[in-house]
Symmetry: C2
Subunit: 393 residues, 2 copies
Amino acid sequence: MVAPADVKKWITHMQPPAVERMLKEAATENVISFAGGLPAETLFPTEDLNEALQKVIAEHASEALQYYWAEGYAPLREQIAQRMSARGMPTKPTEVLVTHGAQQALDLIAKLLIRAGDTVVLESPTYVPAIQAFEMHRPAFEPLTRNEHGIDLQQLRDVLSRSRPRLLYVVPTGHNPTGVSLTYPQRRELLELLQQSDAYVVEDDAYGELQYGARQTPLRALAPEFRQHFFVGSFSKILSPGLRVGWIAAPEALIKELILIKQASDLQTSTLTQLVLSNYMSSTSLNRHVERCIDYYRERRDCVLASCERHLPPSLRWTRPDSGFSVWMELAADISAGSLLKKALNNGVAFEPGEPFFVSQRPLNYVRVSFSNLECEQIEDGIQRLAGLLSAS
Amino acid sequence: MVAPADVKKWITHMQPPAVERMLKEAATENVISFAGGLPAETLFPTEDLNEALQKVIAEHASEALQYYWAEGYAPLREQIAQRMSARGMPTKPTEVLVTHGAQQALDLIAKLLIRAGDTVVLESPTYVPAIQAFEMHRPAFEPLTRNEHGIDLQQLRDVLSRSRPRLLYVVPTGHNPTGVSLTYPQRRELLELLQQSDAYVVEDDAYGELQYGARQTPLRALAPEFRQHFFVGSFSKILSPGLRVGWIAAPEALIKELILIKQASDLQTSTLTQLVLSNYMSSTSLNRHVERCIDYYRERRDCVLASCERHLPPSLRWTRPDSGFSVWMELAADISAGSLLKKALNNGVAFEPGEPFFVSQRPLNYVRVSFSNLECEQIEDGIQRLAGLLSAS
């Protein structure tokens, strides 16, 4: 019997099994968890979604429970296109493909673009499941150092001068894990470099609508004429991840190719969840809901920063997120986040060790601290416990 | 700019764009459509599903709208395992992965098993989107002739003697498009051959619960100790395709690998649809619903066969489905199904030209006639119109 692929050999960016196990246990226990980075359940607009569900079942049950075309529910494509256009990114419904969450968007784009050995440029650190989606196609990764100051664009210049990357994956707004967005000049410069290359850019905008200060403009809005551009959007952070609805916006010719790939991958996104979402959006103001989310998460962002300043040794470095769900923390060089996690769990606190977020040269002394699903008292308590552990170690 | 993949070059099994367009238009018009092969909307248990939805929103909204683990909602994995066990396939919940429909099950298995150039053995004709899921990984296909008499097992012996196939994809029950299941001796012989090889077998059981006569035993039940076996199940045909819930049952070690691939592909299947399904199954008898479905589709199967015998020239050959949604018809050798479709649409009838169902040597004179979503009067009317066109051509 030929062994199947040992998947761990080609999906290498993940928490070690022991850490994975600890985090999974922590999720079910009475632990203050800075891990996960889940949206706050208290924000889910249960009543409005329930109304939408009622309406779908009462008026569109046959349609909602039946097969639909691979490209997505026509009214929803229209609504997504309108939403994008209202955000300064003129988009036609035929330039939109509805996906089973933003993660599937990345998988479909990877299937379209990446052949084994192709160069893929990533920020490092970056969103772990994105690395995994690309890893399945066995590319060569080129990391660009990413921190609170943005992307190291000199590294990008170097990469472009010595190779022809197939794609650049970037999270310009609400970068995960740092929570720090690229500035306007960085966006302009990034786009200029890319437009001179033949690389595709994948702009992951999962947190793009959850900005806590001055709003940054999406890359797609800055360069609407740029054809090598995939914009990935998601309803997971602004509405509900359990629905699993995201989308890709790209030139129609690319969307047409992606529709074929989508069909071969899972035929279509759930008709029921698409209809619920579409009905929700036509009967309620999603924008008003997003405003509530921004206020909610901004408050927690402020709490976590205040707690960090109060309790953590000033020698530590951490980011000041302008978007997103988490703070990225650099511990002293000799502290391993994995060992710290073990102690933290004994003290009722969990967080995400930062190692898998790095594309290469994976330092062990980084930590992602998500604040999105906690109350300020829990945040204060949890940071205080962490500080105690750090000063004891 | 490097062009992205021209997807049509590696997903080659599909209707030509012109046929695709005709069928898509036909779906929205006042046409008797034997195309599509959709489950009958009238069977959707809307009331029971609505009750389940109510319950989920009233009691589990936070959970249903939140992220969940990649392997699938724990109670649903349990229910699927119990259902499989009750069908003579003892299965543990840890041997089940919940997927976004059976199509995603095929995609995940393909990602795990197929490297470019690997040999994949398929029945020919077979279910088109399965061919597409495999095509994305650029294998070499070996077709096994499939017709109303089953699979040509001598061809399989030949293939196994001269190559080491990576996997065999087979639809033993309710084979799509023929609707004809493998007999018990054929199943036994197929399994014996496979057990002597090192190929994996993917058993697609999408129609396995919709058998209209004597029940055939799934391969998994005949060889429970066989480790190179993936069983693919689906709720699409017995309940609702719009939910997009299917599953893979396989040895736990393989499921563990598939969970990693699932996470990299779309994180998880919609929590909402999984909870709705799970609640539906615990408050209602899905088995009783399946019995209703069997009666309903059997009646239509009988109608289509009676209409064919009444109206079609006896020189034509067509299958007698014991399961599934369609009859497979061989036209005279000089008739192209594509041209016939054009004329048929002018006469208010649609069907699926058979060419893409063939893995190689794709004859043009086959037609798939689906009866699942039509009333008997429509079936009679449609077959009569088709007969008229055939006798005129």
